[in-house]
């Protein structure tokens, strides 16, 4: 029993890692006043670019860096669409997601599945110390111990954070105060995209060591829900990711319980998604959206 619980806690930290990266990336973006629906595609791209570069160069770190760069580039493309052109953010984000997923799948076929099957790397191993709870990947440690505190500091204690929140709440005032709305928003999208891609790369470079189609499987949409659940705060969003991961880890354990073996496992697989919707239904009422959310900024 205790062993099962420890196993669940260890799995919770592991499962939450890509969601922490991605949802914190989305927090930064939405704090700057933009919904980034390209998150699902950006994670997908990060997962694919990460493993592809890692397989070609033989270095997992190079793969991760390539994924981060790719994510930042995707953020800039999103920025060109929604900041420079002022395209509707829902449509631009969803269009980019469709584009990135189909382009990754096509590249996967050109490079790998049409030739020698599947791309594989020898993935990062979890540290092996102090029992299953602390035997985690270094990226998991990085997400909770470095990334989250650093982004909290960035958002609430640094000049860049003030600018990000200012252009997200009231771009007119920010502009008058001498802040470049466009440049700040580009920065937020690039940083957010880099984090989303890193979350995707975690899945291929640490978790699986391989790439399959549909690898992100709605995690990006979950991350967007977590941001609302977390009310655009760093720690509440991280807590949301942990809660979601806890439900996922629990359902994985439940599948091993003999008494439940008659239950279709698809019901258990659907549980985390339904839990997110239920969580939104309970806590998502009257949430304080950033003031300029979804609104393109134009100087009059």
């Amino acid at each position: 029993m205790i062993e099962t619980l420890i196993g669940i806690i260890g799995a919770t930290l592991r499962i939450s890692t890509p969601l922490v990266f991605a949802s914190l990336g989305e927090v930064i973006t939405e704090r700057a006043g933009m919904l980034n629906l390209s998150i699902e595609g950006t994670m997908y791209t990060g997962a694919f670019v990460g493993i592809t570069v890692a397989a070609q160069t033989g270095s997992l770190t190079t793969g991760l860096i390539a994924a981060i760069i790719a994510g930042a580039i995707v953020g800039c493309i999103m920025g060109f669409l929604v900041i420079t052109l002022g395209v509707n953010q829902h449509v631009a984000g969803l269009g980019l997601t469709l584009l990135l997923i189909s382009a990754s799948n096509t590249a996967n076929r050109i490079l790998f599945t049409n030739k020698d099957g599947m791309v594989r790397v020898d993935p990062w191993k979890p540290f092996d110390f102090a029992g299953p709870i602390f035997s985690q990947y270094w990226l998991t440690y990085a997400a909770f111990l470095i990334l989250a505190p650093a982004l909290w500091w960035l958002l609430w204690r640094s000049g860049i954070g003030i600018r990000i929140r200012a252009v997200g709440e009231n771009p007119e005032s920010a502009d008058v105060a001498g802040i470049s709305v466009a440049r700040t928003r580009y920065f937020a999208l690039a940083l957010g995209g880099a984090l989303m891609a890193a979350g995707g790369a975690f899945i291929t470079l640490a978790f699986l060591g391989s790439f399959t189609i549909n690898i992100i499987n709605g995690r990006g949409w979950v991350a967007i829900a977590l941001v609302i659940f977390g009310r655009w705060g760093i720690w509440r969003t991280v807590s949301g990711a942990l809660l979601f991961a806890l439900v996922s880890a629990t359902q994985q354990q439940l599948r091993l319980v003999p008494a439940l073996s008659d239950l279709p496992f698809e019901i258990l697989l659907a549980l985390p998604y339904l839990a997110v919707i239920a969580g939104l239904a309970i806590t998502g009422r009257n949430v304080p959206y950033p003031g300029a959310y979804l609104k393109p900024y134009r100087r009059l």
């Binding site: 449509v91 969803l94 382009a103 096509t106 609302i228 939104l280 009257n286």
Partner: protein, 339 residues
């Protein structure tokens, strides 16, 4: 003009990918766009491929017109397919006409059911429908695979697919010598009804008012939440009928590949059509051509067939960019719908 520039950009961007795949872009586009149009078979297959897009595109356009961001057409389509399959598995001994009507009703009910929770959460609690509709898409697919791996598994082949449905519920072919089925007629009728309701009725005026300026609509005394709720259910119903059409008109059974993303492509269709219902029909056909053409391009040039999806997504991105520029142009023809 701007649309032409967008298409040229689409060509340039897609060409990079096609070239990388090892094919001549001009040859690839000849197959993508040309080869389906060169034979009667190709044209009818493109129309067949366009049929579910007419319905999902119409469903998305309807919801977007009211400012309800229904991105769950994929899940609603699958839910419609599930309910229709239930009817089709229990339809022995009923007349054919009744079977067809029941299929359409079941599809619509399934889609509405799947659209119900996000619509309720949005209209009662103000919870963003983008997230909830998106999250229910993978859940719908899980319900499909759960049924196919469980109670509905084919008893003969043991494959995760249902047995072939009762012939009493098959949609009849509407054009001899092709696979085009009743779903196309239903789709065109649905678009016509949407066009009429949105453009010519008081309810449609309310919808457009809610979509263009929800704040102003509320001050004017419109029941914004109720309008959004009704529109969301109607949108779900139309997407659900698309699922019934795929089951009753094409596959004649439920498989986990019943929809290769028709719901998401519906968003592409609606956006490329600038949310105009007549244009949805045209755009569906164009995307249907690309779908069919991508397979002939794939066979002839041995490039991945997913290149068709890339072209569609690039087209979406470039055209929405072009549409933004069109907003800043003086539009001379009055009464033309924008946005």
């Amino acid at each position: 003009m701007l649309i032409a520039i967008a298409i040229i950009f689409t060509f340039i961007i897609s060409s990079a990918m096609i070239r990388w795949a090892g094919a001549n872009p001009f040859a690839a586009f000849k197959y993508l766009l040309g080869s389906p149009l060169q034979s009667k078979f190709g044209i009818t297959e493109a129309i067949l491929s366009a049929t579910p897009l007419v319905l999902t595109g119409g469903a998305v356009a309807l919801a977007f017109r009211a400012g309800y961001w229904n991105i769950g057409a994929e899940g609603q389509l699958l839910a419609g397919a599930i309910c229709a399959t239930f009817v089709g598995l229990h339809a022995d001994g009923i007349p054919h006409w009744l079977g067809i009507i029941l299929m359409v009703i079941a599809g619509a009910l399934g889609g509405m059911l799947w659209a119900f929770v996000p619509a309720l959460l949005r209209s009662r609690l103000g919870i963003d429908e983008v997230v909830t509709t998106l999250l229910l898409n993978p859940v719908a697919l899980l319900v499909v695979t759960g049924l196919l791996n469980g109670p509905w598994r084919n008893p003969e082949t043991k494959f995760p697919e249902t047995q072939v449905l009762s012939e009493n519920v098959f949609f009849p072919r509407v054009y001899p010598g092709s696979r085009i089925h009743l779903g196309l007629i239903i789709g065109i009728v649905a678009l016509a009804i949407c066009w009429w309701v949105v453009g010519r009725t008081a309810g449609g005026l309310k919808m457009r008012a809610v979509g263009l300026a929800p704040g102003a609509a509320r001050i004017a005394g419109l029941k914004v939440e109720r309008t959004l709720f009704t529109t969301a259910l109607a949108s779900g119903a139309i997407a659900g009928i698309a699922g019934a059409g795929e089951v009753a008109g094409v596959a004649h059974q439920l498989t986990d590949g019943i929809s290769p993303g028709f719901g998401y492509t519906g968003v592409v269709v609606a956006t490329l059509a600038a949310l105009s219902f007549p244009a949805v029909l045209l755009i569906s056909f164009v995307l249907g051509i690309i779908n069919v053409g991508s397979f002939s391009a794939s066979r002839a040039l041995s490039i991945p067939s997913t290149i068709g999806e890339v072209v569609q997504a690039v087209l979406l991105t470039t055209v929405v960019s072009a549409l933004v520029f069109m907003k800043y142009r003086i539009v001379l023809d009055k009464g033309k719908h924008r946005d």
